[in-house]
């Protein structure tokens, strides 16, 4: 298959169709509006359903319904819109229904701004609705990876019967890069299963429900969910290590990680040995590989966490380090993206290189 030049948002939409998803419910918001724009055009061509809901609250509840009847379904939004989906997401996770949610993050809090940010990390990894539940959250750092992770997202959603979030920033959504799709045409629908509400004629009725008024029963349900999340944490950690001999380890995800790579290449010319650990799955956080990457540092080697936020993923990095490493931080928020030069300067500062 030949490569095509596509915006991240459009590529995500096409990748969903290739993954077999032909049901989209959403509401426009910058910087992800090209997802619904693209799917509004494409889905009717492949016999799918595109619906612009009246709000994000409606979108996520339409997803709840579509997932409940066992169709692959997708919604997409950006930060403030995702906040509106919190309640629905908790219900969907509680009912163990598969779906995929795209968050093309913009600057917050509140209405914030429309420029790129990563300040929804906590929201995307802790499960921002109520109750003990977790999302599976994947963070692409290129348009090609966005496509690849969309395929994976539908697989994981179906396998674990859990909502999966693709968490990108405004840059990934707006940027064009060459992409290659792994498959042609519309993908396979969801496999036959024993939980979807497909009409009970001739079989036992099925129930999709998240209300358990008996505490013991609800506790059992929570234990069941916990076992699933433990399983996910064991098998679905994904990450990349850039560099193999290093005195300083950067940790960054998404577009920020690419900027870090450029900075690492820049300081390498001065003889500075710096590597990058890039979580691809934000939830589960790749703790095992992150710890291994830290263990390869010299005894006094530091870790530098870099984010387009005031510091959120750094909490997970600290948990991995368990106090054994000094964790430095560089962050910008509000839609300001740290430049490679700014990252390089911070690297020199942390390594105490005379300027």
């Amino acid at each position: 298959m030949s490569k095509v030049l596509m915006k991240g948002n459009e590529a995500l939409g096409e990748a969903a169709i290739r993954a077999g998803c032909v049901h989209f419910f959403g509401y426009p918001i910058t910087p992800q509006t090209e997802v619904p724009e693209y799917l509004a055009k494409r889905l009717p061509q492949v016999g799918g359903v595109f619906m612009q809901a009246e709000s994000e609250v409606a979108s996520i509840n339409m997803i709840y319904g579509a997932a409940g009847v066992g169709v692959k379904c997708l919604t997409s939004s950006s930060s403030p819109g995702i906040s509106l989906m919190a309640e629905g997401m908790s219900y969907i996770a509680a009912c163990e229904l598969p779906c995929v949610i795209i968050n093309i993050m913009r600057a917050g809090p509140g209405l914030g701004g429309i420029l790129p940010a990563q300040s929804d990390y906590h929201q995307a990894t802790r499960g921002h609705g109520h109750g003990d539940y977790k999302l599976i959250t994947l963070a692409p750092s290129s348009v090609q990876e966005a496509v690849d992770l969309m395929t994976l997202a539908f697989e994981l959603a179906e396998k674990y019967r859990n909502p999966v979030m693709i968490c990108g920033d405004g840059m990934i959504g707006q940027m064009m890069e060459p992409v290659e799709f792994p498959t042609e045409g519309r993908g396979e629908p969801m496999a036959e299963n024993d939980w979807a509400l497909t009409g009970a004629q001739g079989r036992e009725r099925r129930v999709v429900n998240s209300l358990y008024l008996t505490p013991e029963e609800n506790y059992e349900h929570n234990l069941k969910l916990k076992r699933k999340y433990d399983e996910v944490a064991l098998h679905e950690q994904r990450s990349e290590l850039y560099g193999d001999d290093y005195d300083l380890l950067l940790v960054a995800f998404g577009t920020m990680a690419r900027i870090c790579k450029s900075a690492i290449d820049e300081v390498a010319q001065e003889g500075l040995k710096v590597a990058l650990f890039r979580p691809i799955s934000l939830s589960p956080f790749p703790t095992v590989a992150c710890r291994e990457a830290m263990d390869r540092l010299p005894p006094d080697g530091k870790v530098l966490d870099i984010e387009m936020s005031m510091g959120q993923m750094i909490d997970d990095v600290r948990l991995v380090a368990e106090g054994t490493r000094k964790i430095e931080f560089l962050g910008r928020a509000g839609g300001i993206v740290p430049s490679p030069d700014e990252v390089a300067d911070k690297i020199r500062e942390v390594l105490a290189v005379p300027v």
């Binding site: 429309i114 707006q174 940027m175 890069e177 060459p178 900027i259 450029s262 430049s339």
Partner: protein, 192 residues
């Protein structure tokens, strides 16, 4: 002349919203992609697209592209005064600046860059349509930078304008060639 991206090449293309810089950048990225080069196309996006400033950074590289965000680009195509004022000081020393002399009477204050002043509107008019000034500028940059085979760009133009838009191919190619020709006449340092 052979065209090979031996070191990363970035161009920032900037102008008023509607002047076609994002499209010119897309054509360039498309052409480079078809040549097997790694590319990224990163637009500025904001609430002020029409009438405000719009710009795009295109990176071309033999290696996978790290940061698509470039604060000090190697070259600049500026369609209007605010873009030239804002970005010309950021071009790296030894870089290339191509600016729209139709709208910008005075060039940038840089003696460490190669500079080409292009009367884009007049050239576009002569080539068939005033609306193709962006392709004049693209042609000028392609010739001045020597970064990519012009034939690849012309193929990309044909691929981008299909169906009902096919009627625009000839005019855009003519404007592109006019931009190339004017830089040829101005003289290009074949240093790269």
């Amino acid at each position: 002349m052979t065209y090979a991206i031996t070191s990363p090449t970035e161009v920032l293309m900037a102008g008023f919203g509607g002047q076609g810089m994002l499209l010119a950048g897309k054509i360039l990225a498309h052409a480079a992609m078809d040549d097997g080069v790694q590319v990224s196309w990163l637009p500025s996006y904001g609430p002020e697209m029409r009438g405000g400033t719009a710009n795009v950074t295109v990176c071309l590289s033999a290696e996978p592209i790290g940061s698509p965000l470039i604060t000090t680009p190697q070259s600049l195509v500026a369609m209007n005064r605010p873009s030239l004022d804002k970005f010309a000081p950021k071009v790296r020393a030894g870089g290339l600046i191509v600016y729209n002399a139709t709208l910008i009477p005075e060039g940038p204050d840089r003696d460490d860059c190669r500079i080409h002043a292009i009367e884009s509107r007049e050239l576009a008019e002569q080539a068939g349509s005033v609306r193709n000034a962006n392709f004049v500028m693209l042609g000028a940059w392609v010739r001045a930078s020597g970064a990519i085979d012009p034939a690849s760009v012309e193929r990309a133009i044909a691929e981008e304008f299909q169906g009902p838009k096919q009627k625009f191919v000839a005019g855009n190619v003519a404007a592109f060639r006019a931009g190339m020709a004017v830089v040829e006449n101005q003289g290009v340092e074949e240093s790269r």
